[in-house]
């Protein structure tokens, strides 16, 4: 703190609290809304905590739609998608580093261009392709994008992180005769752990929340992932808010948990006094 400064923690604190409250409000209402009794007359005044509290909406949600199965499905899909995506993205990002000059620039440029392509442009050809392969109504089309690391964004993130490592490390590894794969495994990856965790989290969020692709590819309700389950809930009983929100809560809890665990690794890095480390 500088001389003559007041504890500026002063005005940032209340502002920070205001921000937290604002951003948590939707989640709060999701939870509180789900705890209302379905079928009760709607509230007349804003209420933060519903009275009476009840979890009937959850029972109802699980009755109307096989939410339990859908949750498991989502988990299975994510369990396969995320590791593959992280693997492919990190390998590719590292490979960018090894490829020199011109070729590298092309790869990076291509990745950026790919980022810009709207998903709507990809839907029908992919659909046709998978139909031709007989893979409609399976989970394969959902997992397949993991093959490209789920998104060029992750590849670029890995590339960028690897690039920030001191080049001497990799040169030393090369001198030791390490294969590129070894270098990736033993030198590069251990050093970018926060990034890996962040990307794994992002991939999980993407896979777990993926709505449009399951919407197109899945017809058998037993194969539905959770977002589709929620959609079913909505089409079945659109104004039954407690039930809808109960579904939303079920869909949200796992990602929030994953986020809570993972964010410790990358959200609390604070360089504070600059790189000289006073």
């Amino acid at each position: 703190m500088r001389a003559g400064e007041r504890r500026w923690g002063g005005w940032r604190q209340p502002a920070g609290i205001a921000v937290t409250v604002a951003f948590l409000l939707p989640l709060w209402f999701m939870l509180s809304g789900s705890l209302r009794e379905p079928g009760q007359p709607p509230p007349r005044a804003p209420e933060l905590i519903p009275r009476p509290l009840s979890v009937t909406s959850y029972d109802r949600a699980f009755d109307l739609v096989d939410l339990g199965l859908h949750t498991v499905n989502s988990l299975l899909v994510a369990a396969v998608t995320v590791p593959i995506a992280v693997l492919v993205a990190s390998l590719a990002g590292f490979a960018f580093l090894l490829v020199a000059g011109r070729a590298r620039a092309i790869l990076v440029g291509l990745s950026f261009a790919a980022l810009m392509i709207p998903i709507t442009a990809l839907l029908v050809p992919r659909f046709t392709m998978f139909r031709w392969l007989g893979l409609i109504d399976t989970w394969v089309p959902l997992i397949a994008p993991a093959l490209l690391g789920l998104s060029p964004f992750y590849v670029l993130l890995f590339y960028w992180s690897f690039r920030r490592l001191p080049p001497e490390l990799l040169e030393a590894a090369r001198l030791e005769g390490m294969s590129p794969f070894s270098m990736w495994r033993r030198v590069a990856m251990p050093l970018v752990r926060p990034v890996t965790i962040a990307i794994a989290l992002l991939a999980f969020i993407a896979s777990w929340g993926n709505f449009i692709e399951p919407l197109i590819y899945l017809f058998d309700p037993d194969l539905y992932t959770l977002p589709l389950g929620l959609r079913s809930l909505e089409t079945l009983d659109r104004t039954n808010y407690p039930v809808l929100l109960a579904g939303a809560v079920v869909a949200t809890v796992p990602v929030v948990l994953a986020f809570a665990i993972a964010q410790r690794y990358f959200l609390h890095e604070d360089r504070g006094a600059g790189w000289l480390g006073r």
Binding site: R12, Q13, G16, V19, T20, F23, L24, L27, F29, P42, P43, A45, P46, L91, A92, A95, F96, L110, L115, I117, P118, I119, T120, A121, L122, L123, V124, P125, T128, M129, L147, L148, G149, P180, W184, G209, F211, I212, L226, L230, R231, E234, L244, L245, G247, A248, V249, A251, T252, V255, V256, F259, Q263, L267, E269, D270, R271, G274, L276, R278
Partner: protein, 291 residues
């Protein structure tokens, strides 16, 4: 090492993209083989009122939402970059809404925006004179049942998902050399002066990158909210955005060639906007090369 990625890129991104752009010139209903019709689709688009509305909606949305989102992300990053008690909580809270599945997120807002019983209007009417007016004596927005209110609703929804930009700007700000700020303290720069002379110029490259990315994102993001919350209504397509337009034409009306042409238009438009932004970046960057 690159093999899976390149294969994936080719098979799942490049090829489909090219196919779509090719299909833009055909009439295709997914059942019979595509039928080449030249630029007829594009002519139809020009005359299609719904597409015109969709395009306008998408552009207006991007125009309003992107600056608000970026500005919000920047403000939050500058607020929360220093360490103080509880800052971790505030940072996490900001990022949390981005984590929720789009559809769950949509359902919450469906509830929040309910004009009669949703928490937002209940709060607004709380101190009102009558059961239908707010504390200021006017009707609260009817959200999902009125065209402009619905559009406002979609914009408000997009303001809470600025977590990603926030994190990027936060990390950027923390990486700026502390000494420049020390120097400014010695030279008596005010808070605004600091922002104008140091923070903004040094963060400009990242800001402009985020601008491009957020523009692209905004033009595509509206799909889930439009489908789940407003269903493209209220009547007469007030919240039909281009992604929803494309989806409906492709999978509900089975007019894929037509949808493809709309996609092509949107892609070109996006590319145009980003290109213009890039030109502006280049002019600025000439002054920002870091030693």
């Amino acid at each position: 090492m690159l093999a899976p990625y390149l294969f994936g890129l080719a098979a799942l991104v490049a090829a489909p993209a090219l196919v779509t752009f090719g299909l833009a010139f055909t009439e295709y209903d997914l059942l019979r083989p595509p039928e080449f019709v030249g630029i007829e689709n594009f002519r139809d688009l020009l005359h299609d009122d719904v597409f015109g509305i969709a395009l306008k909606n998408s552009l207006v949305f991007a125009l309003i939402a992107v600056p608000l989102r970026l500005g919000g992300a920047l403000a939050l990053a500058l607020l929360l970059h220093r360490r103080f008690t509880g800052v971790g909580v505030h940072r996490s809270a900001t990022a949390l809404p981005t984590v929720i599945p789009d559809i769950a997120y949509g359902l919450v807002w469906l509830w929040l925006f309910n004009p009669l019983y949703g928490p937002i209007n209940l709060l607004l009417r709380w101190q009102g004179d009558s059961p239908t007016t707010t504390a200021w004596g006017v009707q609260p927005p009817q959200w999902l049942t009125h065209p402009n209110d619905a559009r406002a609703a979609i914009i408000i929804m997009s303001l809470f998902t600025i977590g990603e930009g926030f994190v990027i700007l936060l990390v950027t700000r923390q990486g700026l050399p502390a000494e420049l700020y020390d120097l400014a303290a010695l030279e008596d720069a005010t808070a605004w002066g600091l922002f104008r002379r140091i923070t903004l110029p040094l963060m400009a490259p990242i800001l402009l990158l985020l601008l491009a990315r957020d523009t692209i994102f905004s033009l595509q993001w509206t799909f889930v909210p439009a489908l789940v919350v407003t269903e493209g209504g209220p009547p007469l397509y007030s919240t039909t955005y281009v992604p929803l337009f494309v989806y409906r034409n492709a999978f509900e009306y089975l007019r894929y060639g037509y949808a493809a042409s709309a996609t092509l238009v949107m892609f070109l438009l996006t590319a145009l906007i980003v290109w213009v932004q890039w030109l502006i970046v280049r002019r600025w960057r000439k002054g920002f090369a870091v030693g």
